[in-house]
């Protein structure tokens, strides 16, 4: 790696000002698990790294029944996985976190870094998308909230401006009778990056078969993690049933735009989206139906 200037600001304000000062030449540094790969491959050559880890208030995991789960941007995947709070209120999220990368990526890599990277072949963004997550962002002139579905722009690109920092992710509370499933599909080795990611969140009406709210999100098969809105519409407001399910699955396969690459052809990935959306929705429905407090 080329050398770079290195700063450890102690407040968000300081960090944003530094970023603003450097313009495109500086990069935010958290776990470094994504950034160092880009730097070693020569894809980015930052003149400066702004390490966020001295800034207090970015590592909390807080649950509030009204607000939901708030995850600080510097929480690592491993911390998310092993948090007793998360395991108690939303164990499904812990299950997603423990599949990311490998143990070293999980102990160093952060939730915020993962989201801000815009990395297509990863897990958390897809899962969080189906949960209706909202991210908080801080810039030199103040903060803003952005729905995760509006956060990603393109491969490796988010709406974050050069001088903005993602500070937390909020996952709103889920209605009763909600089920969730995330499926991480790898082409070959289980340790490989995913080639398809599917997340389904299904909330049933308080009584009966009807699906009140359906979220289907897809990872790795478009330029960004995406909501499969046609798939959602195929089920939302409908009674749960095999035809609606097949409809949703087929819609999702049509809506995405996967690429041909070493991990599979576009055609195969679409087929897998169909299979996995069907499987994920079925599992989410089963969990919603068991009526348990947690999906």
């Amino acid at each position: 790696m080329r050398n770079f200037e290195y700063h450890e600001p102690e407040t968000l304000g300081e960090a944003c000002l530094l970023l603003k000062g450097y313009g495109a030449a500086a990069r935010v540094f958290a776990g470094g698990t994504h950034l160092t790969v880009l730097m070693k491959q020569g894809l980015v050559r930052p003149g400066a790294l702004i390490n966020l880890k001295k800034i207090p208030g970015l590592k909390g995991i807080v649950w509030h029944p009204g607000k939901g789960l708030t995850i600080g941007t510097l929480v690592t995947h491993h911390e998310l996985e092993t948090s007793s709070l998360v395991q108690r209120v939303w164990p499904f999220l812990s299950r997603v976190a423990r599949e990311v990368g490998n143990i070293r990526v999980r102990t160093m890599g952060t939730v915020g870094g993962n989201l801000a990277s815009g990395e297509p072949l990863t897990d958390l963004p897809c899962a969080l998308l189906s949960l209706g997550s909202v991210v908080s962002v801080m810039g030199p002139s103040g903060g803003r909230s952005i729905a995760l579905e509006d956060f990603f722009v393109d491969y490796y690109e988010t709406v974050l401006a050069e001088d903005e920092i993602l500070t937390e992710v909020v996952v709103p509370p889920l209605p009763p009778r909600t089920g969730f499933e995330y499926i991480r599909f790898t082409a070959g080795s289980v340790m490989d990056r995913p080639s398809v990611g599917v997340s389904a969140r299904l909330s049933l009406e308080p009584q009966g078969l009807a699906c009140r709210e359906v979220r289907v999100s897809l990872g790795c098969v478009s330029s960004t993690p995406m909501r499969a809105r046609d798939a959602e519409r195929a089920l939302e407001g409908q009674d749960w049933g095999p035809d609606a399910l097949e409809d949703a699955a087929a819609s999702a396969a049509r809506e995405c735009s996967p690429l041909d690459d070493l991990r599979g052809s576009a055609r195969y990935k679409r087929e897998m989206v169909r299979v996995l959306v069907r499987d994920a929705l079925s599992m989410a429905h089963e969990r919603a139906n068991t009526g348990g407090k947690e999906p």
Binding site: G32, T36, V37, K40, N51, R98, T107, M108, M191
Partner: protein
Amino acid sequence: MKHSVTLRVNGREHRLELEARTTLLEVVREYLGLTGAKAGCDLQVCGACTVLLNGKPASACSALAVDADGAEVLTIEGLGDGAALHPLQEAFMECGALQCGYCTPGFILAAKFLLEVCPHPTEEEMRRYLGGNLCRCGCYMEIREAVKKAAGL
């Protein structure tokens, strides 16, 4: 430009003047002469460079030393007690869990962390905690045995 970095490596404090881009792997290998951690892939995949950073496995090839200022670093050389070996080191030897030995320091440190978090690991836990250490000689079956043995299973 150099930064002052203090690292507590295997229980000993070291104060170094380093460029920001210096990785932990460069520090332990080039500056401290601890060559047990190896360069394998440079991209956090193979685990040959694994060290325990504040007790947790980290890819030393990609961890910045400046970022680890004030941290505790454990390398394979810090395991065991003089001539006495750590139970994992004994178990790896007894079970034949190594051949060329290049992945071994990283694997043993990763296994140490696994057993601290999961004292009686399931197959699933072993997969999740050790799946990120590659062994091209193919000692995975023996490694699983060694970890179970060290865990008293």
